[in-house]
Symmetry: D2
Subunit: 210 residues, 4 copies
């Protein structure tokens, strides 16, 4: 399907197409060596540190993306936790903190990341800016594109397709949706490396759901 | 970029590419008339029912996708709520319930949807199956593809691209990620119809965040 | 201080006094042998089943009381979880489910409790009615008084003190506040039995808080 | 019932008794004029500012106490929200923020309270210390006793009753449980002032619960 065949589609479906296109371009922009380092860290953590805890941290919609990832980490067998939930244990030098912030400047996530570093936890940052305050203090950084950084896309998005100047992927949408798929890619690679089948995941999946 | 140029990429990025590809195909599979009906319902609700409440309902990762959508509904000016949070008001005949369930059979979401229908709320269902129990009781249904339904894709996904039989988009991943982008498309169209700029959304966005 | 010395106090403080009085009477009504069985179960679980999980379940304000208890269980060293949060693992025969429902009939908690029983988890019920559907399926029941059961109290509360017929501890307030204190009593006894000092609890308390 | 009649009771029930006793003493220690100001503020807000929002803020178990109060504010007809949940709107000069922190120094609640003040929201603080950083910036303060402040109680609690030096109401327990009952007292007084019956509350109570 090409973008032109969408001309009679509702704007919602065109935007959905554009968001997915943005993710596809992002695949080329994300640095494989950064990804490799993140996956190695998680694999090594699983294999050599079975009692270690993984604490996922994000605010707003980035926090929801983090929760979706934390669920899969739990299904993979990690001791995963989410900052802001009821059950958040203390973390320390054998633990891993994963902070998600497009700008790398979200105040409370930065505060939490600094606190994690103080406890000697390993810090992984998912952000659009490696040189942001969050990116700078992280042990492992993966740069995931968001809107601000890629103004060419903004032009394309705004003018070619929609013909207006208003961005229709408001606020952090591009970063959030791209990160969601990026992290689901990480889950896939961890499944392979840790030799986990879908059935293994299902076994740990909550069997009492509200 | 074509899929073949990905051959040296980490599996995580290949999977990310595949997930985005799945969303792009889904754009063609989603029925425009169903989408139109959903957007019309939301637009009409905003314009003619300013005190009405929108209650978003989903379990597990579908619930997180629902929360991300509810946040944007709030930013657009709706009185949005999320089932399972602390603050959930009673709903009734002037209210709207939006239920998200890939299978359309998630027990507790089905129970909640039935309860919503009993209160005379309008029920919108996002599901892969219009003929599921959830789809059947809904006033508005949008079918969003997920894995189970598209076994051809499973083959393609498993064999052509990844060369293994293990599904690397485990459990509800395909439905969840596709629905996330679909709902962000809905947000874009509502922005246009309700004449809301990104700045308008930012004004309602939480200014105190934890 | 006697109740009469409160006569010039704001109604809010008088009610606070009445709520605490209700808790004090409840201490005599709660059956020590039920409490003993609950504490023994938790102590034995801690000592002999270090990898076992404790899943706390409650709806609405009873759910919040459950969360407050789950936090302390975490601080005591249990692998505690809360139904409805992001991170909820599967439970099974070596695990413990604690269900809180004043009426013992809250539909979704009953459903969850039945699911827990099916997984062979041990079920502890905190309810005002041992003969409720929840009480009947539980392995351990502790009856904690709430309003409905003690109509004498309603009279006293309504007429003697406040002089009106409207109950000023609406809905489940009495059960919720009494259960909160009862469970904090359980925490105290577990501290002693498991030889945990306040400092031990503080060590596990979240060191990164949002 | 006197405390001595408890001698054969399990420690959990003795502690429950002590916690309730602490609440009863607290009733005398809480300043009626502070309470009056808080209730007046809430009554006036309800009557003259029907579109205003109330944002409740607290960390850890104090956050749970805040949520329980926010639920009742919703049931009373307020537009109540909880910091940290998915649905948190922007607040401004016509809105009310209620911050709960025993020490009045919990970093993130203090940050949030300062942010609320910057938006010109009215700030109500529930804390054990009127002269804490939180207490100082609040428009309305109610001092609710907690442990640290009342070392006499610690002595009594530790020596007379339990005969050990270990505090059995660890961390913030006393403040949290006392605040829970204090706020339920506020709910009772608001019911009377706003002429709300229990049935009125029930009408707004969630009719779809997960």
């Amino acid at each position: 399907m090409s973008s032109s065949s969408l001309k009679d589609f509702p704007l919602s479906l065109k935007t959905m197409y554009d968001l997915a296109e943005f993710v596809i371009r992002s695949v080329e922009l994300i640095k494989p060596e950064q990804v490799e380092k993140m996956v190695n860290t998680l694999e090594d953590f699983y294999v050599n540190n079975r009692n270690g805890k993984v604490l996922v941290m994000g605010a707003g919609r980035s926090g929801l993306v983090g929760r979706a990832f934390a669920m899969r980490l739990l299904h993979l067998g990690y001791n995963a936790y989410v900052l802001g939930e009821t059950i958040v244990p203390a973390v320390g030098k054998n633990d891993l903190a994963i902070a998600i912030s497009g700008s790398g400047r979200t105040k409370l996530i930065l505060t939490a990341a600094e606190a994690a570093k103080e406890t000697k936890s390993t810090l992984v940052a998912i952000t659009s800016y490696a040189d942001s305050p969050l990116g700078k203090i992280a042990d492992v950084v993966v740069e995931v594109p968001g809107r601000t950084k890629y103004s060419q896309f903004e032009d394309y998005f705004a003018r070619q397709i929609i013909g207006i100047t208003e961005p229709l992927a408001p606020l952090g949408t591009l970063f959030e949706d791209t990160t969601q798929m990026f992290l689901d890619g990480i889950v896939a690679e961890l499944m392979l490396r840790l030799k986990k089948s879908e059935e293994d995941l299902r076994m740990i999946h909550a069997n009492i759901e509200l």
